[in-house]
Amino acid sequence: MATQAPAASTDSSPTPDAIVVRFAGDSGDGMQLTGGQFTLSTALAGNDLATFPDFPAEIRAPQGTLFGVSAFQINFGSRAINTAGDAPDVLVAMNPAALKVNLPALKPGGLVIVDTGEFTKRNLDKAKYDASPLDDDTLAPFDVLAFDISARTLEAVEPFGLGKKDGLRCKNMWTLGLALWMFDRPREPLHDWLNRKFAKAPDIAAANIAALDAGHAYGETAELSAPLKQVHLPPAPSEPGLYRTITGAEAVSLGLVAGAQLAELPMFFGGYPITPASAILHHLARLKEYGVTTFQAEDEIAAVCAAIGASYAGQLGVTSSSGPGIALKTEALGLGIMTELPLVVVNSQRGGPSTGLPTKTEQSDLYQAVYGRNGDAPMPVIAARSPGDAFEVAIEACRLAVKYMTPVMLLTDGYIANAAEPWKVPDPSSFEPFPAKFLTEPRGEVLEPYKRNENGSRPWIKPGTPHMMHRIGGIEKDATTGNISYDPANHQLMTDTRRDKIANIPVPDQEVAFGETTGKLAVVGWGSTYGPIKQAVRRSIDKGCSVSHIHIRHIWPLPKNLGELLSGFDRVLVPEMNTGQLKTVLRDQLLVDAESLTKTSGQPFQIAELEEAICAYFDGVKGNEGGEVQANEQQLPSPVESE
């Protein structure tokens, strides 16, 4: 039974507790849609899951090319899932290019499903195959299910009178139907979804449903012919409650809405389209009834400046972008810091300098967030570790901005923004409100717009308030009156004050995410590396290694106890999807001998490579080879975990 993980394809092998499936095809093949719908059916089946959409920057790259391949990977199981999985157990390859690009990732013994209808000479040439991999020993290490999906799809949609071109567009639904059968999922939610999606074109809906049903029926009838077998994964244990799937972009948007409500403020969101941050602007544009104004500005600079203007006028200003856009906003962030106005800045990080890898993930904007402004211009920096976590982190960003009258940088990344996971729907009333306060009466004879409260924050005075007229701006200002001041002692005082205000923000004590509070090795991460680090540490502990996982949310300022916590470990390893940026900050701030494990391939860390690195610290303990990773994982107990 080849759909099983691990590789063993004998009927006697036990049902696995997690399976990784990757759908891969041409960027026009609808793989992201297929993956998204398969994710929903997986969530409804009660499996825990994590996904990894991986698509090219080109919207419609030339058909059949290697660089036009779009893939969607999902890891789902009857136990807690933290990552999108290392190596797929099942690869669905819709054309030769998809096979060529994705085959190296497939677990030995894994199942590969290919559409022979696409394995034409022309497509093989485009994929740079000299001979068809179906005819030589390329696929020997795998179980192979090769048949003409294209033809079967056309057969299924034939009654609906679609032409060949439109008919073939139903291939992804045919494939989805087969996948639904393979994992014992009901088809009804998909029927409903297709009927809704194509409400205005009932023929198209019917054709897609027919394709879906045909794929499903194929599974049923072909079951006897190995290697296709049906697998049923029971629901994963999870805390009782109401669940939904959520992507990081959705979670950030909802967290911002919740944060603005907790601050009792209307929200102004200034944005400019950029991958992968645009999704946040898309979500919020539909939420006007929540007091959200979205403004698609002429550029990144105008987006942040309009948000600053809105904050000045008494709303919660928010702006969002990715690294290149944040670079453009940087001067304005200095203005926000200088004028001490609340502002939430979301950076959905992507790969590389300049345009880099727009659709790939990286964590390489940490220096930019912490150190990247002119003048001494500190601002709090916090990071989300998973799609669901982004909700809480967005609320925290709003709270810090309003309470400390400061811009706040919220770091997510392309992986978190696009990936989906099940999310226990929180009760909004469980969050402590932090209502914004406006100063409406002078506190003495002289209006002192820069006189601070116990948090070091200056008052928020909205224009329109009678008798409170004053001027603010980017020029250094007198420590109390706010008037222009070039006085040397005053600038020293104001620089120190701005530094201390941020440095003294109380940050929750750092806890250990997994493992003991002391030991030989601390693996310190931030952001979206949470899942793979946690799994790698868990496996290493099971092998007897004295290792703990520490995951930092508050990067600036760092938790006060972090230095002491790290001093309880002999070594500190910092895995990051950059060239060692948090490592530098930890060394800088804590004088700790942090060591780097870096990766900048645009792909998330695999559990196995982290485990390998951890094991290198322990004599006589070996890391896993790629193919055995899943096997080892399955021997572990499945603790109930809450994300």
Binding site: A43, G46, P240, L254, A258, E298, A302, M469, G473
Partner: protein, 344 residues
């Protein structure tokens, strides 16, 4: 948006306790006084008035007006002001910028605030030079301007602020001169206009570009070169002895002599502030051959950006409730009950 309440103030009420730090003799002083004279005429409420500026000599302006003020960063004042107006459309916003701030580093934002038609008054102080950075040529400097960065003369072709504004879709374009007694009238008209009202003010930088506008703006003797436009009035200048006629066949103006005040006989055209084509021609009228057109070149209101944003919000919000709990549990959900801790 609420109708503004008119407040009685005097010029003194609009002065701050801050020492004004422009160079002695700078044209900015005259503009500051003209604005402080205009605000009481408008019945403006200092508490409801916001002056927003970018960077440059002109952008120090907000510190000297006793209202709310925001001195932002180079070129970005239109964007900040747009955020302010969207957050609180009731605020009366004045934007203060210069030729460098508003047309060079901030040219993009200027274009967009104008084409969106955000309701505010935009005063662009044009001195054809970078003053605060010590005298480099600006996007409005004439060709051949000698400066530290163009020691043998600039070769850049200058931008025409009013033509830029019209090209960007501005619905109000006016022109004034720092020392002109008519400047408050132009500002009054700009304020009366609902929408983005663009006013170019020729301002004398006495240190780096002294008297560059003397040919039409010198206190004495150059008045003959000023064409003050008024809606419904003939385009007369030089004490009414000259006027502009329009050559409809060749689509350009010509200067004609007016004898005994009979401007009709001379074919002088009547100014219509709603004629966009004429406004373009007036904005581009080459000085020298023609007088300098001043006053209100164009004034034809259109719905403001913030009113459209509000209308769209009201339409899309109507009938919807803001239920956060419901929003969070949106999409397809499933319930894990208390007994599901073990795999079934």
């Amino acid at each position: 948006m609420n109708a503004p309440v008119k407040i009685e103030t005097t010029l003194k009420d609009w002065e701050t306790d801050q020492e004004v730090r422009w160079c002695p003799g700078c044209g900015d002083y005259a503009i500051l006084k003209a604005v402080q004279r205009t605000l009481p005429q408008l019945g403006s409420d200092p508490a409801n008035t916001v002056f927003i500026s970018g960077i440059g000599c002109s952008s120090r302006f907000p510190y000297y007006i006793e209202s709310y003020g925001f001195h932002t960063i180079h070129g970005r004042a239109p964007a900040v002001a747009t955020g302010v107006k969207l957050a609180n459309p009731d605020l009366d916003v004045w934007l203060v910028t210069g030729d460098g701030d508003g047309l060079s580093i901030g040219g993009n934002h200027m274009m967009h605030v104008l084409r969106r038609n955000v309701n505010m008054q935009i005063m662009l102080f044009n001195n054809e030079i970078y003053g605060l950075t010590k005298g480099q040529y600006s996007p409005t400097s004439r060709e051949g301007t000698r400066t530290p960065t163009s020691p043998i003369g600039s070769v850049d072709h200058p931008a025409n602020p009013c033509a830029f504004a019209l090209g960007s879709g501005a619905r109000f374009v006016g022109r004034g001169i720092d020392v002109s007694k008519n400047l408050p009238d132009v500002l009054n008209a700009a304020h009366a206009h609902q929408g983005a009202a663009f006013v170019e003010i020729f301002q004398n930088c006495i240190v780096y570009n002294k008297d560059v506008f003397d040919a039409f703006a010198a206190p004495k003797g150059a008045e003959g070169q000023q064409l003050w436009l008024a809606d419904g009035e003939p385009m007369l200048f030089d004490k009414g002895e000259k006027g502009l006629a329009f050559d409809a066949e060749n689509l350009h103006f010509t200067v004609v002599d007016v004898v005994d005040g009979d401007w009709q006989a001379a074919g002088v055209r009547v100014h219509n502030v709603k004629n966009r084509v004429m406004a373009h021609l007036l904005a581009e009228l080459p000085f020298g051959e023609f007088p300098m057109p001043l006053g209100v070149l164009y004034d034809d209101p259109a719905p403001t950006y913030e009113s459209a944003v509000i209308a769209e919000r009201e339409a899309s919000v109507s009938g919807k409730e803001a239920n956060l709990a419901k929003l969070l549990s949106g999409g397809q959900t499933w319930t894990v009950d208390g007994t599901a801790a073990d795999p079934v």
